[in-house]
Symmetry: D2
Amino acid sequence: MDMIVVLKSSATDVDEQRVVERIRELGLVPHSSRGEFRTIIGAIGDKTPQACQQLEQLAGVDEVMAITQPYKLASREFHEADTILDVCGIRIGGPHVNIIAGPCAIESREVLFDVASAVKDAGASILRGGAYKPRSSPYSFSGLGEEGLKLLKEAGTAFSMPTITEVVDPRDVETVYEYADMFQIGARNMQNFNLLLEVGKTDKPVFIKRGLAASVTELLMSAEYVLSQGNHRVILCERGIRTFAEETRFTLDVAAIPVIQERSHLPVFVDPSHAAGKRDLVPALALAGIAAGASGAIVEVHSCPERALCDGPQAVLPHNFVTLMGQIKQVAEIVGHRVTLWGREEEPKPRPAVGGWAG
Amino acid sequence: MDMIVVLKSSATDVDEQRVVERIRELGLVPHSSRGEFRTIIGAIGDKTPQACQQLEQLAGVDEVMAITQPYKLASREFHEADTILDVCGIRIGGPHVNIIAGPCAIESREVLFDVASAVKDAGASILRGGAYKPRSSPYSFSGLGEEGLKLLKEAGTAFSMPTITEVVDPRDVETVYEYADMFQIGARNMQNFNLLLEVGKTDKPVFIKRGLAASVTELLMSAEYVLSQGNHRVILCERGIRTFAEETRFTLDVAAIPVIQERSHLPVFVDPSHAAGKRDLVPALALAGIAAGASGAIVEVHSCPERALCDGPQAVLPHNFVTLMGQIKQVAEIVGHRVTLWGREEEPKPRPAVGGWAG
Amino acid sequence: MDMIVVLKSSATDVDEQRVVERIRELGLVPHSSRGEFRTIIGAIGDKTPQACQQLEQLAGVDEVMAITQPYKLASREFHEADTILDVCGIRIGGPHVNIIAGPCAIESREVLFDVASAVKDAGASILRGGAYKPRSSPYSFSGLGEEGLKLLKEAGTAFSMPTITEVVDPRDVETVYEYADMFQIGARNMQNFNLLLEVGKTDKPVFIKRGLAASVTELLMSAEYVLSQGNHRVILCERGIRTFAEETRFTLDVAAIPVIQERSHLPVFVDPSHAAGKRDLVPALALAGIAAGASGAIVEVHSCPERALCDGPQAVLPHNFVTLMGQIKQVAEIVGHRVTLWGREEEPKPRPAVGGWAG
Amino acid sequence: MDMIVVLKSSATDVDEQRVVERIRELGLVPHSSRGEFRTIIGAIGDKTPQACQQLEQLAGVDEVMAITQPYKLASREFHEADTILDVCGIRIGGPHVNIIAGPCAIESREVLFDVASAVKDAGASILRGGAYKPRSSPYSFSGLGEEGLKLLKEAGTAFSMPTITEVVDPRDVETVYEYADMFQIGARNMQNFNLLLEVGKTDKPVFIKRGLAASVTELLMSAEYVLSQGNHRVILCERGIRTFAEETRFTLDVAAIPVIQERSHLPVFVDPSHAAGKRDLVPALALAGIAAGASGAIVEVHSCPERALCDGPQAVLPHNFVTLMGQIKQVAEIVGHRVTLWGREEEPKPRPAVGGWAG
């Protein structure tokens, strides 16, 4: 049963009749149940969100309550087991904990390679770096573009790490596809639906960050956009929501991690850097996320953050990242997970040509 | 003076010296002032947002406070008088109050023309209608696309009303430009910076809705993106923010209207329909916005909302819109404004070919 | 029917049987309705909130949805017509618009009388002034206490205005009752339930401000506390909620006014001063509230705000209050209301001895 | 230096002179510093919050920025080392992690003793139980009052556990003092200042929960109320704030834990139960809080939650609490903390007569 239509106590038989007819007209099957004071009518069938809105407006209707969630492919009901992706030989999701690390923006070959080397050594399994940076000011550094992508690919190859980078424009999807191993959809683009459709048509993993004001349901609907195009390799990320609490840049909604896991089979990561906005708080938030069951974290690291062109204050220094990785490893184990330690216990499989990974 | 750097009470002379040097290196002019317990250093010059972040990380620095706003072209300081735009002969901004009305989505020629005729008669001056609808579900009706734009242009011509429609993808800017008189940037795209840059390169007015979680400063920064490209015809719109208050779809932040007017010369509208999410509340919110000084309102009207394919519950019925227009007219006058009554007091100038309006 | 219990699609007959039994045990009447995929069970009877929580935990239960609101005496269903109170001869509620004005805190006889005289002349019908000020800092001025109440009573008598003052402690209810005509319950005490019970036992009107983080339902539940004790003279007030929008002190949720009016018969006021936090914004918010249908406003006025001991920045100057009153009067009329103009059109009835008003 | 007054670029010499004079009049010492475009004036001295508000209103003043925090006794600057309390022989704060557990409300001797026995065995060191329950509905169970306190004391003695219970009314402080070892101030009373003053006059520890809409600064100001009365035994607790995220009852602001620790020397706990509102999420949130560095957690446990009279859905079952305690113990160690295991490694000192503990 998809919806429950609750009639007002003042609804007439004619009102009820009209609601029943309209339910049929919408292609749903009505089931009336007359209580002592009110009648409720179930409406069963494939839910279209507008059906809900349309029924709500009929005379005599008090409320229409949705029973099933508006997403399907992203739901646990559709796919009960945790989805585990294979990205260049690394397994992501379920008990596998992966740490994505790197600078906020790709600024220069030197900084990128310094940071990549440091995070690889510390145990990060995936390299991040932004080439297209959405910035609230038109006067801020907005990334090196394709030049940055080239550097990222070069670093990924040099350190045998798969790479992830943000794409902000549907017109750039093809270019980003060429250089990076995973697409990142930033919080501000979580509901850029055309962009979601575009990455949904590719075969590379899509890492979607929760919007600043997005509910968990809306995040899963955005995943549904990608899944509906045939790309089943989606990873979700809690990165903080906007609330009145101004002591941190955003409020990390750590509970979203188990909530998403309950509703969806997709892997969930935590982004402690953007939530905190301040490096001193990053370790506490990273560990909180891992303790809450996240399948990984994405952490900004910079070798000289006071000269970073973007978000320096939240970048962790390499030596602090080493300590953090050690703690993450232990906390993950307490909750039954295991950190993928690239280049430590096991060498990754040789990196195949771009685009060639099986999902 | 752009920033104030407050040193910790424990900062040493060496710390202070380094901060001063770094300020100079960033191209700013330092001004030290030693207080009894702390030293503060002003940093004067063209502000780059990252300078603020970079100084904040130096040893001995307690806090860096920005003094000037990060936007320029959008600010009252840059342009003291209210900006008044001319759109197809209609004046928008300052004391001129314009009501934009029409259906949420363009669904069919019949509905669009019905609604256009009704809102024109009631006194609306601009016709709205969506051809590209951003929908949280990939399974919802997402608009008729170019077919819808054609219908909108046809209706605008038939009823002598300039038209506005949402654009969601940089790739559609050219097409929308061809058919509509104004671009609407929806709340979910307020920080789709490439889209802002694209419409900034045209000469048609851009109506930017405040994001669900955007501060007023961020809204003005988004306007700055458009203005920085040479398009000075920007209109802002308060449409409700996301808060814990779930009784309405969003929380109309009515105070944002006078706050924006204090900081910026750009016209500010109110969108009561999306904030309310429910037609019964639309008149109260529309009047509240006009009473608070808005230069207009954008209202969804539908002749048969219980069959609307999008947002029916918040669409006002034509006969209620007539009553609302009457009240808006009176409230506007009390606060020193005047509603543009299309086709009533004065016939509009003949509608020139699309693209030919002077700003 | 009070609740709908939705069973999981996986629920067994045994699960269903247990839910039905538990509903009966809770003193409610069950009504099962088996749909194609799920069974839903109505639970009819006097709702106890814990029944809802208890059913929710049974095996096989997916969701329990409340159908009726948890408040009764405060609801429109209980009392369809607008409640109109008589306070010392002034009618409050419905179409009667009353403006409550005065200083934030009672600081001295001189300031209080100056302000009282000015707001009376401008058309305010009720005098406000705080004697017990809840302050976030223990080092701030917290009011003159009983000394302040005496001054307030003296000013009320001198200017023939009923008075309102905040009470923050159940132990002060008796004292405040002696001096003032109306109790104000501040936002921070909206859920100080013992205080609500205490004022509920008196026969003087209780003006309850919405808490910073309270839903409309919670506000009505707080009213229910007072009503349940036999005091039916309750007035509600929207004064801004806490959100991420930091440009104003709080975010005035103007939509709460019509929402409350739809659900409740109690009068609703607006407090533009605390929402704005800044005097320049007060007129816009006051007019917005009146335009949205409020039955009044409570406005802070000070003759020398830059020396005020509390909340000076949000106090309106007397001459600006005169202008505002003129606009309020006109806006009220447009929405079918009428401002009570004390000492203008009609002299109030002689002020009877304290405590002697009929409700 | 307490404040920085930033003048407008348009401020005249006369404006500046008046600001300087007013600063002196307020008992502060002015320090002018003329920049290229603006003048800034430091105001040094004991800060009174109204000074800030008063200066803000002077002609020519653009902004007044506070440099020091408004709390003193609660700040790290006042007391650099972590405060460690001794409650009946248990050390609270710093690296000592204590788990407070028990039922939401004290319902009966049987349930209380069952739960107390279970949580004691699992390793909880302090027993909780509510005798005065603030409930949003006047029709809900509101606790057994003094009868409940007697049961709590009896259980505490029987199981050798110090006890904590909520006090909601200044008139009950004496009674609660008689029976319990610690006062709990609930979220809804965080700004019930008279209640804070009352418990501040006692010598028993005060456990203050953060309000639903309170900033960290406001929480510390509430602690300051207690500290200012001479009671230095204060513990703080993050329990979730109200945001738009409706998937959980409240949003646990896990970052508040390290933020408070940075600013204050007082112990910080986490309350996963009220934040989650649902027992399945409690372990994840409890572990997240401990991983983020909390000095303890307060967890609701019930032996038969589907019959609980209050908040059953969020109560953890005893056997799940055992598992959780095991994980908490390990996570605490990873972040350098250590769980106080009552009656395990070390027997507590014999419980002295109520009221006789040294702080």
